[in-house]
């Protein structure tokens, strides 16, 4: 008996991972600098990183965008034309300052649309520091066997970072 294709609409539907090129196009459009994404790599250090938590219309955890401090800092800096050396300083300190945090948060806010292309509507609930103790439901959701894609990112003029998307 053939199994049914996963539902993408209505009650119980889960969002789908976006295509790599769609992620790249969205980030490029927001930061205003060429961004090259390639699959692979791994977020080596949680220090200074972020996890964006997305929920569906029933407020259920639906998707996540996890970044290391470099990806968040370089995107946040490029968006506001902050000089690369300032962004490098933040990466070395492993802590986003308020401006870069706010800038990057806007990127992950708009990135909610990436998960809505083929699945149910999701929206950003919050962005949390990855180094802090995360809420139990978020930890539980991230430990479940959900679909993930991890990407290496090169933000032109700034440097390399890591981004991972997860749904489920």
């Amino acid at each position: 008996m053939a199994s049914a294709a996963p539902s993408t609409e209505g009650e119980g539907a889960v969002p789908q991972l976006p295509k790599l090129e769609d992620v790249q196009e969205l980030v490029f459009g927001l930061v205003g600098q060429p961004v090259t994404l390639t699959r692979g790599g791994k977020i080596r250090s949680n220090q200074g990183g972020t996890v964006a938590v997305y929920v569906d219309d029933q407020d259920r955890l639906a998707a996540f965008a996890i970044s290391d401090v470099a990806f968040a800092a370089y995107c946040g800096a490029a968006l506001a034309m902050v000089p690369p050396k300032e962004a490098h300083r933040v990466v070395l300190a492993q802590k986003l300052d308020d401006n870069l945090w706010e800038n990057y948060q806007e990127i992950v806010n708009v990135a909610a649309s990436l998960f809505c292309n083929t699945g149910p509507h999701v929206r950003l609930k919050e962005m949390l520091p990855l180094s802090r103790e995360l809420p139990e439901d978020v930890i539980f959701a991230l430990r479940r066997p959900v679909a993930r894609m991890t990407m290496r990112a090169e933000i032109e003029g700034f440097g390399q970072g890591q981004l991972a998307l997860a749904v489920g």
Partner: protein, 120 residues
């Protein structure tokens, strides 16, 4: 031409400003306001020709701002730049006199396509 960007996110105001420039509208006078209330005050004082406004904001939402302007008979050209773009929102925007609804994420081309009929 004077364009007012109304958005509670400073980062998004920067993105909209940059996209306007990339779409070829960099020569216009571009101003910013951080919420609907501030936008309303700025519309009264600086009299922009076009308002590009977020939908969800503290103090006063974008649709509340547009409705207030309509109620007062203000004729400023008004468009939304918003994360959400449901049919219901489009209908509400149209009903209140909104000319444009641009969904995020957007590109310079999508900006140009939406704004060209309304920018001299």
């Amino acid at each position: 031409m004077k364009i007012l960007i109304v958005d509670d996110s400073r980062a998004m105001r920067m993105i909209v400003r940059r996209t306007l420039r990339q779409a070829g509208y960099g020569q216009h006078d571009i101003e910013e306001a951080a919420n609907g209330r501030e936008g309303y005050e700025q519309i009264q004082s600086t009299k922009p020709d076009l308002v590009l406004c977020d939908w969800n904001m503290p103090e006063m939402t974008g649709i509340e701002l547009l409705q207030k302007l309509k109620d007062e008979g203000h004729g400023v050209k008004f468009g939304f730049v918003t994360s959400e773009s449901t049919d219901e929102m489009r209908a509400r925007a149209n009903e209140a006199g909104g000319l444009i609804l641009i969904a995020k994420p957007f590109t310079p081309d999508s900006f140009k396509g939406a704004l060209a009929p309304h920018i001299s």
